[in-house]
Symmetry: C2
Subunit: 391 residues, 2 copies
C-alpha cells in the first residue's frame, strides 16, 4: 500500500527483517526477557529460605559476579539504572546549579537524574558511527564555551560549573571512550559511563565501565539480562564504591541495633529476590551475547541488499552486545519513517524510533545545548528492530 | 549478671518475652517475612510467562486488591515506601525551601523524602499513647509560631511556608487522625499519612489512609507483608492518583512507539515479580493480623506482672496491626536500656530501641523543631520485641 511517490521500499524492509526472525513468530517485540536458566531455582531458594528482601546471599553473589565479568573492582546492585545514575552523579560531586553534559540522544533517565541533584543537563551531539557523544564536536564546542578557572570547568555563557560528562553507550554500542576520557581530563570533567544498555559490550577488548569514575548498568525487563527492575554501579575506586553503597542504603552506620544515619541517604537497595534472577541471568549472558550477535549479523547481511537503508553496525574499535539493533533510513526518506513504523507494526514487528531528543521535551527545552545535527538525523531516521536473545 | 543497684529485673523481662514465643526457637528476629501461601505459584507464573518487569498482571491485581482492602479509590505500587513518600510530597506541592512537619520519632525515610523535594523537615513531638504526632502539643506550638498569610501557613520564625504534615503511624498504631486532620484544616496544611508500618490498622473502624490527601505503605522485608522491597501510594483523589502514577513512571505519555515525557519523572515502578509476591502475601494478611494480635495480647498479659515496664497497647480509638510490639521502661530505669538490650540479645531475642531521633542525626540537627519531651522519652525508654506473624 505504498504511496506512488514513496522512495522507501517498505515491503523490502519488512522482508529483510522477517528473513532474520523465526518464521513461526507472528508478533515480535523489540526486546523481551529470556528466562532459560536457573531463575526458578534461585528465586525458589529465596522464598524457601525467607530471604526475599534487601539483604541476602544473592545480592552479594550478583555484585561479585558483575564485578568479575566486567573486571571492575566494585559493583553494587541498586533498584534501577536511574537510581544508579543519581548516586553516581552525587558521588561525582554534582550539586545545585552545576551543569552536566548529557547526550541529547538518550533515554530520559540520563537527564532526569541530573535534575535530581538540582543540576542542569547540557545537551551534546552524537557521533554518526557510535551514536554516542561525539568527541570531536564536543571538543570544538567546549573550546568555544568553556574555560578552566581555579581548576574548574566553567561555562562562559551561563557562568555555571560544568562538573561531569555522562557518556551513554547507545543501544549497547560503545562510545569512543579514550577520546572522551582525554577530553574530560583536558577540561577537568568527571566521566560517568551510562552503560545501562551495554552489559557485554567491549571497547578495545576491555568491558565498558572502566573509563568512567563511575559507570552504571540497567537490568530493566527490556535489557540484555533482567532482574525485573534493577541496576548497578561499577567503579574501580574501592573507597568511593563503599561510600556510594552507603548513601544508596539509607546511610545507616553498621550497628546491631542502633539506627544512626550519618547523612542524607537513599533507599536504592536491590531486593534479594531480584538479585536471584540476576545471578541466573548472568550465568547465561555469554549465550545471550552469542545469540544476539548471530541475529545482528543476520540483519547486517539481510540489509546489504536493501536500498535506502543502512544497518547500524558496531564501531570498529568495539565489540558490541547489540542490545537493540537499528537501521538508519537515508536522509531523503526520513519523512516516511512513521509510515514505515506503522507498516512494520501492522505486520507484528514492534519496531520503534529512537527516544524523542531531550531538548524537545518540555522540561528540558530551555537547557543549554550545542548544535546537534547528528542527533537530529538519528531522531528522524533511525528505527530499532526486534533484538531479543531468544530470536 | 545484673548490677547490684539495678532497678530493672532483666531476667523477668526476658522470661515475660520468652513465655510468649515458641519454645523451640532460640534466635528470634524482630520481624521476618512469612511466606506461606501462593508466593511460589505467582512468582513462578511470572517466570513462566516472561512477565517479570515493570508492567504485568500482578502489578494491576496488587494495586486493585490494595485499594479494595484499604477502601481507598486508588492504590498504586512503587519500588519502596521512600519513593511513595517522595511522590506524595511532590504531589502535595512541596517545593524548594518549604517546610514539612515530620515526627521526630520516625524512620529516617520520612525526613529524607522531604529533602528530596529541596524542602526542610520541621520536627514535632509525639503523643504518649499513640507514639504518633501529638495533636494537642502541635496545636499549641503552631499557635505560637505559625500564621496564615494569603491562605498559606507561614513559619513566623523562619519566614518559610509550611506545606504539609506527615503523620506516621508508629509501629502500626494509628495516630489520632481526626484531630490531626482538623489541625491541618485550621492551618491550611496538607496531611500525608506515612502508613509504612500500618497496613491492617484501623482508626475508628476505618482503615488508615483515608485522612491524608495521600498515604503511603511499605512492603519492605520487615513489614507485615512483603514484596521483597516495595511500597504503595493510596489516595481517594482519582485525578491526583493518576498524576502521581504518571510522574512515578517516568512521565511518559501513552503511545505505542513514541517516547515523549511531559515533565521530570521518576523510575519508581514496582516490578511484576515483586507484585506477585505482594498478591500472595495480601491473601494471607487477615491471618497474619490475627496471629500478630494473638502474640500482642500474649505479651500484654505477660507484662502485666513485670514491674517497671509497660506494654505499648493500641490506642483506644483504633485497631492496630501490632506491626512491632514494644515495651516502655519506667523513666528511672532508662539508663539501663542498653544493658537490657544486650541481655536480651545475648539470649537470642533480637530486641532493639526505637530509631535515633531525627534531630540527633547530623544532617537534621539544624532543622527547626518544637520541644520534644515525649519523643526523647521514647528514644531513651522504648524497646521493640519480636513480632513476626509466624511466632
Amino acid at each position: 500500500m505504498q504511496h506512488v511517490n514513496s522512495k522507501l521500499d517498505k515491503a523490502a524492509i519488512l522482508k529483510a527483517i522477517r528473513s532474520c526472525l523465526p518464521a513461526e513468530q507472528k508478533n515480535v517485540e523489540l526486546h523481551e526477557p529470556y528466562l532459560c536458566g536457573n531463575e526458578w531455582n534461585y528465586v525458589k531458594e529465596c522464598l524457601d529460605t525467607n530471604w526475599v528482601s534487601s539483604v541476602g546471599k544473592f545480592v552479594d553473589v550478583f555484585e561479585q559476579k558483575l564485578a568479575e565479568y566486567t573486571g571492575v573492582k566494585r559493583a553494587f546492585a541498586v533498584v534501577n539504572g536511574t537510581a544508579a545514575l543519581h548516586i553516581s552523579l552525587k558521588m561525582a560531586g554534582v550539586d545545585e546549579g552545576n551543569e552536566v553534559l548529557v547526550p541529547d540522544l538518550t533515554f530520559v533517565a540520563t537527564a532526569n537524574a541530573v535534575t535530581y541533584c538540582g543540576a542542569i543537563p547540557h545537551f551534546v551531539d552524537c557521533d554518526e558511527m557510535t551514536l554516542g557523544v561525539d568527541p570531536k564536536a564536543l571538543s570544538d564546542y567546549l573550546s568555544r564555551i568553556a574555560e578552566i578557572r581555579d581548576g574548574e570547568c566553567i561555562n562562559r555563557e551561563t557562568g555555571r560549573k560544568i562538573k561531569v560528562l555522562v557518556a551513554m553507550h547507545t543501544f549497547g554500542h560503545p562510545c569512543d571512550l579514550e577520546k572522551l576520557s582525554d577530553l574530560c581530563k583536558k577540561y577537568n570533567l568527571i566521566l560517568i559511563e551510562d552503560a545501562a544498555e551495554a552489559l557485554g559490550s567491549f571497547y578495545k577488548n576491555r568491558h565498558v565501565g572502566h573509563w568512567g569514575k563511575f559507570s552504571i548498568l540497567s537490568f530493566n525487563g527490556n535489557k540484555t539480562i533482567t532482574t525485573g527492575g534493577g541496576g548497578a554501579i561499577l567503579t574501580n575506586d574501592e573507597k568511593l564504591g563503599v561510600r556510594a553503597k552507603h548513601i544508596a542504603t539509607t546511610a545507616k552506620l553498621p550497628h546491631p541495633f542502633i539506627f544512626f544515619h550519618d547523612q542524607i541517604g537513599y533507599n536504592y537497595r536491590m531486593p534479594n529476590i531480584n538479585a536471584a534472577l540476576g545471578v541466573a541471568q548472568l550465568e547465561n549472558l555469554p549465550r545471550f551475547l552469542e545469540r544476539k550477535r548471530v541475529l545482528a549479523m543476520r540483519y547486517k547481511k539481510s540489509f546489504q541488499d536493501v536500498a535506502g537503508v543502512r544497518f547500524v553496525d558496531e564501531p570498529g574499535f568495539s565489540k558490541s552486545n547489540f542490545w537493540l539493533n537499528a537501521i538508519l533510513l537515508d536522509a531523503d526518506t526520513a519523512a516516511e519513517r512513521d509510515g514505515l513504523l506503522e507498516y512494520l507494526r501492522a505486520d507484528g514487528i514492534k519496531a520503534r524510533p529512537a527516544w524523542t531528543l531531550m531538548h524537545k521535551l518540555p522540561m528540558f527545552q530551555d537547557c543549554p545545548r550545542m548544535e546537534i545535527p547528528m542527533a537530529e538525523a538519528m531522531d528522524s531516521r533511525l528505527i530499532n528492530i526486534p533484538s531479543s536473545a531468544f530470536l
